[in-house]
Symmetry: C2
């Protein structure tokens, strides 16, 4: 099969690799209906996360089940399924608590910028759609496997809900879909922090009521101005930098909630400032599995269209151009036809 | 009046200072029924927090109202009142949310190791008991003004409640009273981390079901062993050091809650570890005022006896011995008769 492999910073290649096969009896092998590039793939692409050896890229996936191991009972060949970047048994204590990304048997899942993928713990990890969906829904299901589920968790962790004012820091796909989630969860006012016109437009389409272009302390001051000087009830941090984290904490009112879903890179939270801020802080690798049944319903019934975050579709052979377009912020998120 | 003044590390003196007077029409002046020394007073006493000039010490208080300003309506001379270390208007948005220590008009209150104290924003800050209490209840009311209210907030912030397993890091008065709070809130299992026999005994009397003597990663391993390898539902951090904060985070299960009430000194929370821990983190200067009516009821009705944290009572003239006893961990908490 063909798969995207990162060899060095900005050196991403399409290569032929062995097709995956069932290894454990709990595995499934799926044929991807499309692939995509995630904002977090840019950390190694830019060389910020080290690459020690050629690394198959991608962790988002949706597609048709080809084959299952003999212990798999809930998932069947021919089904269209969506899963998340961590395989989980969905039965242990953290899974039952809704933290499947902290499953005691969790297994990282990579290399899904490819034609086929092996998914461990298939019964716990995969959720099937009612039927094989029409082609136009595939981008939305692919979004559900990470960026929608992550934005959704960010909004939930931030306590977004009826009557709330929610700030979203980060205008990548996760941030934009956190806007969508905050809207679906009933938030009254949604402030998107973005200085990119196309992303601002998408944020407004997804439900943002206000746009703040300023960053850092200036951005915090703007949020304060919009919230009677007190700060927002909720903030979603969807970047992973020190500046974004502090912006989210400082934009939130005492007793408010910060949901952080940007993978932290060099972030150190000063204890004394967090103490005096009185905010609640919660985040982590999004337990997408917790939300998948609900998200699949919403997409299947065409109540949400998260696939709109894909603003560039390329044939698989142009994967390198896809990375470059996201790196240069020419595209919000790239869909690859495989 | 006489007041305790810190001149330099370990140089605490009893001095004669002017009696406080009404300055603002919203002030009250109270005569303290007793004074006490807080664990947090040890930071400047030990020279860890800098002392730039002679500093009147103390921020806990309970006593009889002597005089009120002309704008004070709810509080009357002759009442016995309890307040907290931040004066608050109890009407602004953060106050209405129960975060009176983030009141937009908050004023720090110090120098209450003294015979009299001026309390700003008296109507918002002070809570009166039904009648002047008998002398044996005074230590408990004094405890309510900070250490009980702070331990209580820590337990609430940690999500202590029915069926929960709660770890308490820190065996000072706040930690011990967090044990009491966790018990009152209905927690099933309360693990006190302490290596001091007298404090262990008090923790057990207050409701601890288990004692862990190990610290750091060994302590975390012991908590894991006691909780099926998953970690506690809740942890209260009542120290303020890096080690205690990380111990609390690491002892908590994915999706669990850490309530931190130790004033952070040099604490930096690594973003990546907090991310992967999946814990909820909430803390800050305890909004004691939120809990005071409930705590006063519990004490008045003799349902709790938080005054038991005072294990050494000294005449005011021996304030220096009181500090030394707490510094050397010969006493949990010192009551000063003024």
């Amino acid at each position: 099969m063909r798969a995207a492999v990162l060899h060095a910073p900005r050196d991403i290649r399409l290569e032929v690799r062995d097709d995956p096969a069932i290894v454990e009896p709990t595995d499934a092998v799926i044929r991807l209906s499309a692939a995509c590039i995630c904002g977090s793939d840019l950390w190694p692409y830019r060389g910020i996360s080290a690459i020690r050896k050629p690394t198959p890229m991608g962790h988002e996936y949706a597609g048709i089940v080809e084959e299952v191991g003999e212990a798999v009972t809930a998932i069947k060949p021919g089904q269209f399924v969506v899963g998340s970047f961590f395989a989980s048994d969905n039965t242990c204590a953290p899974c039952r608590d809704g933290y499947q990304t902290s499953c005691v048997n969790r297994q990282g899942l990579g290399g899904t910028q490819s034609e086929y993928a092996r998914v461990p713990l298939a019964d716990g990890t995969l959720v099937a759609t009612p039927e094989v969906p029409p082609a136009d829904l595939i981008p939305s299901f692919l979004a559900a496997s990470d960026v929608l589920g992550t934005g959704w968790f960010g909004a939930v962790a931030a306590g977004a809900g009826a009557g709330k004012t929610v700030v979203v820091v980060g205008d990548g796909a996760v941030g934009l879909l956190a806007v969508m989630a905050a809207r679906l969860l009933g938030s009254e006012r949604i402030i998107a922090m973005s200085r990119h016109e196309t992303r601002q437009r998408l944020a407004r389409e997804f439900g943002a009521t206000d746009i703040v272009e300023e960053r850092g302390d200036d951005g915090v001051a703007m949020v304060e101005e919009l919230t009677d000087g007190i700060g927002a009830d909720s903030a979603v941090e969807a970047v992973g930098t020190q500046e974004a984290m502090m912006q989210a904490i400082r934009a939130t009112r005492p007793g408010g909630h910060v949901g952080f879903v940007g993978v932290p890179h060099g972030v150190e939270i000063p204890g004394a400032e967090l103490f005096s801020s009185h905010v609640h802080l919660h985040g982590g690798p999004a337990p997408v599995r917790r939300f998948l049944p609900q998200l699949i319903d919403l997409i299947w019934n065409r109540e949400i269209d998260p696939g709109r975050v894909f603003d560039l579709t390329l044939p698989f052979a142009q994967v390198a151009e896809g990375y470059a377009a996201m790196d240069e912020r020419r595209a919000v998120k790239v869909l690859l036809t495989v």
